[in-house]
Subunit: 362 residues, 2 copies
């Protein structure tokens, strides 16, 4: 197995291409730019699976009319610090930023804002949303459900998405702490990479279609499931399952979206769920004004102290020592802004296919 | 090694004893009853480490004047849906319920309420607080930091507490979903039990004092550390560390309490931290009115559907199938309300010692 070949693309080139692709389907210009901004943020931050690698899927869904390019995104219920938003089956990349903004606007008035969203689609990286809150001296929260891939502890089938949780805290001189984590033990992308490389995966990542643990990535892909964070009972797999359940309920039961195994598929080849229990998938956003709890400067300086204290932790043997959540993504971004975004041939082929079908030059 | 002997105590007998113990130190009667209620809830729910097994530690701290029996618990900063509370170094078992009530009262008005608390002490089980929110048709959240026991991923020393996260969602006919989980891979109590039994523990629970993984429980107790949920990098140990960091910051940096390795010790024999960076330890409470997002009955009926759907998951081989978060604690409570609370001899001895020193009959 050879190492994959990478092609480097300047951020702006990909941003323009993605924007044009959304415009092609009648997405209004500000929305198309917004959607491209979320996608490119993933590519810049090194989360390749959530960037332009997904553009062809959005393209497919728009082409088949399964996503509404001009949604009427509206608040269907609200109180001072809470709201439920119906995304009108728009792009998650457009619905997400709008709902997140509603959360932040509520926080400006009430100290905090919490928005649960139904009738939406995949929204890119959760980390994008919490970075917006930092600009307003807020603590940002973001969660989303997704198509089923993960088994609950002691289950033998896919019932939950990889349901990420993101939260961010601003520093003063130090860069922010940015947590953005799936609630599964390992990412689906890692299973696919191991399969392509013909390699075994660690115990604790997956089960096969009968619910037995396995180290063969094909066993997961062929009807098996990912395991939740913690993997097995002994290592806290019930905790990863509980976190995924929490995300599922906050995003979907609270908003009226499809929860658990009923989340609609994002890609064309995925199985259609047996039942519909709501509208689209769901997100959950939160924003808390730091000023609602503590002097903003004092808080940020304490975060600096926290970061420096944790960086100074005695390192474990054979490691580079303790990282701060957000370090790897920030380092990727610094490199990629300079050198460009590396895309594998398969992604370039996808983009070329869009180019061929739409006439948009890549 | 023999199995430990248990002595059964009626709930009311322990509740009265705990209440009297707090009263002995001048804790006002409603506060003493409240504190006992939190402790007994842990014993009823089967979380033995957080119930009357800790009464002697509260006793020691009160006797040494390290906890204020008559705190002036007050809001030091607030907005419509947020507040910071200073617990005036009171019992966490008293400060916690009061701060949680402030969160719920804010939620009654603003749709949600979020309270960060400094200058407090250990508050019992996080699950207690989120159960209160259910009575008001709210989604309850509770977190706390605690004395350092856990290493961040790739660290070789204790830097964080076991920092639990709790959240609960009410059902209609079904019992509520109650999540209450430490962010470490395993509980400290399990290390102690293995040590007493002379047994090895699973790989992934601990490191020794040099940061190497170990299966010898003594290695953790003698200057080692617990590992975060996920255990190692391959299994998502960075995620458990990130969750513990989130709890630490929401509870402590946001309120002005001692974060990370600077959390003050709870028990007498524990090391005094090198620095003080705030006041006491910290908690974080949240309450969200379901009605602020969705019709309450519709929500509860969807939760019933969620629970029944997840119970019907195909079970993994060799397991009893999927549980719902909160099942084990509810089952323990049903048994213990009937049969009494089982205490090991060491805990009975602790209570007898309190009885001897105070004259309160056990």
């Amino acid at each position: 197995m050879n190492e994959p070949q990478y092609h480097l693309f300047a951020e702006e080139r990909l941003r323009t291409f993605a924007t044009e692709t959304f415009l092609y389907f009648g997405v209004p210009k500000p929305d198309a730019q917004q959607a491209a901004d979320v996608l490119i943020a993933a590519d810049l931050r090194g989360i390749d699976s959530h960037g332009v690698a997904r553009l062809h899927t959005y393209f497919d869904m728009l082409q088949l009319g399964r996503i509404n390019p001009k949604p009427n995104i509206r608040i269907v219920r609200e109180k001072m610090s809470t709201a439920t938003v119906d995304g009108d089956n728009g792009l998650g990349l457009v619905v997400g930023p709008k709902a997140n903004q509603i959360a932040m606007e509520k926080a400006e008035k009430a100290g905090s804002g919490w928005v649960s969203v139904c009738n939406t689609n995949h929204y890119g990286i959760a980390g994008y949303y919490v970075l917006q809150a930092l600009k307003r001296d807020m603590i940002g929260w973001a969660m989303t459900n997704s198509t089923k891939l993960v088994a609950p502890l002691w289950g033998a089938e896919r019932m939950l998405g990889t349901n990420p949780i993101a939260i961010a805290f601003p520093g003063w001189e130090e860069p922010p702490i940015v947590i953005d984590m799936a609630t599964s033990a390992a990412a689906y992308g890692k299973i696919e990479i191991a399969k392509r490389a013909g390699k075994a995966i660690p115990e604790g990542w997956i089960i096969d279609k009968d619910g037995n643990t396995s180290t063969n990535p094909s066993d997961m892909i062929n009807g098996g499931a990912l395991l939740p964070l913690g993997s097995d009972r002994e290592h806290g797999g019930h905790k990863g399952y509980a976190l995924a359940a929490m995300v599922d309920i906050l995003c979907c039961v609270l908003s009226g979206a499809n929860w658990g195994p009923f989340a609609p598929p994002f890609a064309l080849r995925q199985e259609i769920p047996a039942r519909s229990v709501g509208k689209g998938i769901g997100h959950f956003f939160g924003a808390m004004q730091i000023d609602g709890f503590m002097d903003v400067t004092t808080f940020k300086k304490q975060i600096d102290d926290w970061i420096r204290t944790f960086r100074a932790t005695k390192p474990a043997p054979g490691t580079a020592g303790v990282l701060i959540p957000g370090d790897p993504e920030r380092e990727a971004e610094a490199i990629r802004r300079q050198e460009g975004i590396p895309l594998i041939q398969a992604v370039v082929d996808d983009l070329l296919d869009i180019s061929r079908q739409t006439g948009i030059p890549l």
